[in-house]
């Protein structure tokens, strides 16, 4: 048997010791380590697979408003959330990899990606074998597959709304003035 392994990430970008105060560092540390611990514990279950462990870990991250996914997702310029997710395995499923996009009502987009990957094999899923699906048709499939749908304001958090408003104001300011702040002065805004 091969020794199971796992690694998770919670985003990357213009993160500096200046714009990440100690209490934020501790919050991210505690969140990622608790997800890692919970997911690693699944390795001891007899029917554990890489697919179930990875889906479990990302579901926990989507439910944590600290991260830009699921609850706590960033906003588009129009003030809406458009979520995306994907899953891929090295073997075992004909589709191998799937991508979901333009989601606004699916609480855990990663669970939808897993259904898209696995259903094709088990009971003809209804995805016609496609690897990428988006928007309302995909959300109808999510509902038909029994996934939890929520109203758009489920994803709202004040932190992201403030980033959204500040980002728009900054853009407007930059357009009107010639000076643009250096990369260090900028706030870390999730890039996706």
């Amino acid at each position: 048997l091969i020794k199971p392994r796992i690694i998770v990430h919670g985003g990357a970008g213009n993160i500096t010791r200046k714009n990440l105060p100690p209490e934020s560092y501790r919050a991210y540390r505690s969140a990622l380590l608790s997800v890692l611990h919970s997911a690693s514990n699944l390795f001891s279950l007899p029917d554990c697979t890489a697919l179930s462990v990875a889906t479990h870990a990302v579901t926990l991250l989507e439910d944590n408003p600290l991260f830009n996914a699921g609850k706590g997702a960033v906003f588009t310029r129009d003030g809406a959330n458009e979520l995306e997710s994907s899953i891929m395995v090295s073997n075992g499923y004909r589709k191998r990899g799937v991508g979901c996009m333009m989601l606004r009502h699916v609480r855990n987009p990663i669970k939808l990606a897993r259904e898209m990957l696995t259903r094709e094999e088990e009971n003809g899923g209804g995805t016609q074998g496609h690897c990428q699906l988006s928007g309302e048709p995909l959300e109808h499939l999510a509902e038909a597959w029994g996934l939890e749908l929520v109203s758009p304001d489920y994803f709202w958090t004040k932190k992201r709304w403030d980033e959204h408003m500040r980002g728009l104001a900054e853009e407007e300011q930059e357009q009107s003035s010639s000076k643009t702040p250096s990369i260090e002065e900028r706030e870390y805004l999730p890039q996706g």
Partner: protein
């Protein structure tokens, strides 16, 4: 964006990634997270062992010598009498994989499974433009001695492909920035890899000794 790469005891690799996308993106903009090969990828292939496989050659036993003589196959007899020729002589029924070690001596390669999986995070449009994650997988697969760690650094490390692709034309925040996490399995041995070319990447993993690690910056 959040992501997870897992290897299970059967040797399957899985990568799962989810995101709200880019802050203040245009409605309808699709990023790298749901785009195969850009922000996520997993694949496996069979290759010949990258170590010199000479030790795999088994000297003939008396029984096999008698057997090949009784078969009257000249090749088998030659191979057994002149072991140096053995690697050239295809054994009946065995698919022969020959690799050349660095002395260009054709040797019979042992087939092993090689698998990689990765998840990307950062400026999604950069991952799209460079098809970042599959490029790293392809470097690992088609360069004879490139590890996934070195491939990830070539793509997402400082001065890597992503950073070089950042067109300063727009000078937008975060262009060219990002990081990749991954796992590489060669035979039975696995390695956790990551690299990034920006201020930091939130990441946590279980190391080779089973300890849980967390980092944001480099050199913590």
């Amino acid at each position: 964006t959040v992501g997870c790469v897992v290897l299970d005891s059967s040797g399957m690799l899985c990568v799962a990634t989810s995101t709200g996308g880019l802050t203040n993106k245009l409605s309808g903009r699709i990023g790298d997270t749901p785009t195969l090969g850009a922000g996520f990828w997993a694949e496996e292939w069979i290759e010949e062992s990258r170590s010199t496989p000479q030790m795999l050659y088994q000297p003939p036993t008396a029984a096999s010598q008698l057997e090949s003589m009784s078969r009257g196959d000249l090749g088998g007899i030659l191979a057994e009498c002149l072991p140096a020729l053995a690697p050239y002589v295809p054994t009946a029924g065995q698919p022969q994989m020959y690799t050349y070690d660095n002395h260009h001596t054709p040797t019979q390669g042992k087939q092993i499974r090689h698998a990689v999986a990765m998840s990307g995070t950062g400026n999604g449009d950069t991952f799209l433009r460079t098809n970042a994650v599959r490029t790293a997988a392809a470097i690992s697969r088609f360069s004879p001695h490139a590890s996934l760690a070195s491939a990830v650094t070539q793509i997402a490390g400082p001065d890597g492909e992503m950073q070089r692709s950042a067109s300063d034309r727009w000078g937008k925040t975060g262009e060219g920035e990002g990081g990749i996490i991954g796992i590489e399995l060669v035979g039975q041995k696995a390695e956790v890899v990551w690299d990034f070319n920006c201020g930091g990447m939130f990441r946590a993993w279980v190391d080779d000794r089973g300890s849980e690690k967390f980092m944001v910056f480099k050199g913590e």
